[in-house]
């Protein structure tokens, strides 16, 4: 077990570095979870609208009140750059500027040039708020034309437009995103863990393996009586210990997030993440086997972890990625990990069934097996070459 012992010795030296890395990523993970969970529970129908009131009359205030019942009002400075930033970063969806003389024009029966607006051109949100404002003005001016005075017209408009049309909601599956035994936050935690575990393992594990593969150490090991298979097996065993420790740290954090409850779905998520962690370890070992230098590992780690995460729907929901992308990402393990996790939480349209969940995990296991077969093969070839 000399190789195994050497492996652990080297690993011990990387503990401070590993702790910095893991700590940082745990912080990122909480940010990830918070901002995504917010996005998901956000009611799409309620937009953020900013109103700049240049008229400042009873009538304009009535309009603002009308908008505020339907959308969230976001205060904004009347400054072009601020508005542009706010629109681009989606802090507000629409900026309505009520022009001076709004009330006067309305009472004279004129509806031209009452407002100006800023919006993302040709966007749904823009069309939506445009329609709302048009609807309000059109109804109001119709009431005025019908002989009502201004305040009566405003009251009637408000009453009429707040009559909600009954909407029948047809449900084709009883899927709900986030359930009590697997809340949406935990689901997002596991989703992002795919990226984090991959980057952490590539960085930490690869650097240990690169050290143990340094020319002097390698040559010394090779001239011993240990077989290549035994060496590889010991390295894999050593990696298992390191990986297990890292996995347990992340799972402990997940457990805290889940309120300490080992529910059935949580256990399934654990299984899914365990298999994916094994895959990540395989990828890390593979990179260490082919990477020339430790500083290059950092760049490769970014390419592999970020690339796979983007293509497989870790950062951007799978439902948003095109069919073409998804059919290509089927050949990557993270796709199956995310798909299984989405099904578990009901974030996708797929209805949860234990059989298909297990088949996804099974596909991941096949990836893992293939990776380790390649690793053993490469090590054999390298050894023979030496």
């Amino acid at each position: 077990m000399q190789v195994f012992n050497a492996f652990l010795k080297i690993s011990k030296k990387t503990i401070p570095m590993a702790l910095i890395y893991i700590g940082l990523f745990l912080v990122l993970l909480t940010f990830f979870v918070d901002s995504s969970a917010q996005n998901n529970t956000f009611e799409a129908e309620r937009l953020s609208v900013s109103v700049i009131d240049m008229d400042n009359t009873e009538e304009s205030k009535a309009l603002i009140n009308f908008i505020s019942q339907r959308h969230d009002l976001v205060e904004i400075e009347n400054d072009k750059d601020t508005i542009l930033d706010a629109l681009y970063y989606e802090r507000t969806d629409y900026v309505l500027n009520i022009q001076e003389g709004y009330a006067e024009k309305l009472s004279n029966g004129k509806t031209n040039e009452l407002f100006t607006n800023y919006k993302i051109p040709d966007s749904y949100t823009g069309v939506f708020v445009d329609n709302l404002v048009n609807q309000y003005v059109s109804t109001l001016s119709a009431y005025i034309a019908g002989g009502n005075n201004m305040s009566a017209a405003i009251t009637k408009t408000e009453t009429l437009l707040s009559e909600e049309t009954a909407v029948t909601v047809q449900s084709f599956s009883d899927n709900k995103s986030g359930t009590e035994d697997y809340p949406i936050k935990t689901a997002y935690y596991f989703q992002f863990m795919a990226y984090i575990i991959l980057s952490v393992l590539i960085t930490i594990l690869s650097s240990v393996i690169l050290k143990i593969n340094r020319k002097e150490i390698r040559s010394r090991t090779n001239c011993s009586c240990l077989t290549v298979t035994s060496q590889t097996a010991q390295i894999i065993l050593g990696s298992t210990v390191v990986v297990a420790v890292i996995w347990v740290i992340f799972i402990a954090a997940a457990l805290i997030m889940n309120g300490g409850a080992f529910t059935e779905k949580f256990l399934l998520a654990l299984l899914n993440s365990l298999v994916f962690t094994i895959i990540s370890a395989g990828i890390a070992i593979l990179i260490a086997a082919v990477a020339p230098k430790s500083n290059v590992v950092n760049v490769i780690s970014n390419i592999v972890a970020l690339g796979m995460s983007f293509l497989c729907g870790v950062f951007v929901d799978q439902s948003l990625l095109g069919e073409g992308v998804l059919s290509a990402s089927r050949f990557l393990p993270a796709y199956w990990y995310v798909r299984a996790n989405n099904m578990l939480s009901g974030m996708s349209d797929e209805v949860f069934s234990i059989n298909s969940f297990m088949s996804f995990v099974g596909i991941e296991a096949i990836f893992a097996a293939a990776l380790f077969a390649i690793i053993i093969l490469i090590n054999k070839v390298k050894h023979n070459a030496q």
Partner: protein
Amino acid sequence: MFLHNLKYEFLQNIRARSLILWLILFPIILGTFFKVAFSGIYETTTVFSTVPVAVVEKGSNENFRQVMESLSEGDDALFETYYSDEESALKLLEEKKVSGILYAVDEQVSITVVSAEGGTSAEGIRRTIIKSFVEQYNANRSIIMDTISHSPEKLNDVVSELSEDMKCNENIPLTNGNHDNMLSYFYNLVAMVALLGSDLGLGIAVSSQGNLSAIGARKCCSPTRKIVSIITSMLGCIAVQTVCIFFSISFLAFVLQVDFGAKLPMVYLAGSVGGVLGVSFGFAIGSVSKLGVNAKGTVTTAFTLVCCFFSGLMIGNMKAVVSTYAPWFNEINPAAVISDSLYCLNFYDDYTRFTQKIITMLVMSVIFMLIGFFLTRRRKYASL
């Protein structure tokens, strides 16, 4: 001496091919992934296209049909309408071919939409557009009924107000730039390439410290002044990093056809200054304390990732979240400053904000360089 050193710095950098190769491959591979993964997201989630609806009619609905037809015609049609029976309408809804079903029973209209769980926010808005259309239709209907029963002589005025084409709300275009918010991922990719230059900068510090590398030990015993040797290293690395940045931006702009706006030469400038920032940052971290090479590498990579994370590399609207809670952080986060400078180029017609960002980058670079200089000067080794 200066030129001699500079020459060997160049040679040394060019010969350390693997890192440079990966620095160039990084944006090529990730940029391609981004392009593939994001193509169409902006179009499907943000840009308005007609809302597909199914209409199921019972009884006589002459007026409703007229309204639907007028709304389904022309280039700026609101709806794409399918008339069908209930069963096939439900099927269309299930297959997501339509966003909702309108039931018209003797001019009374009601709606069926699919369960609101899941789906994109654009779908939610489409549902709401349908709903508000029906509300408007029913509202107009009741205004007309109301007028008929109370003051029928004014019916014509009311109808003409209701059917008037609204010109009350004029849109003011804010910019000629590209609005696709997926662009921010590419901005951050450029920022990340620039900050990955910290790996090169780290090399400067490592190769000047006797305890970290053989070449550092050799340099320590040479009579060349340390400042000369470090400045030449710095220039060498900046040159290499600039080449990498130029390559990345060219690849993104010309091969992947990412639309950086009309001021492409300035994009190169911003990227290059960002590269200087990355190199000097790596130099500063490399000079801090007596950490090993690997530990320093991890710190720079982790720092780069954290900066890029908060600038929105992984989640597009992260910068907006940061600006709500800690706006100052966006001003000092190197990745955010670099990506903001590209954003300013695309969106603003004048260069005021762009210049501010470039100055911020330069000031940060100078600070990092000074930190590096002060930490590496006069470092002596009794024995190596």
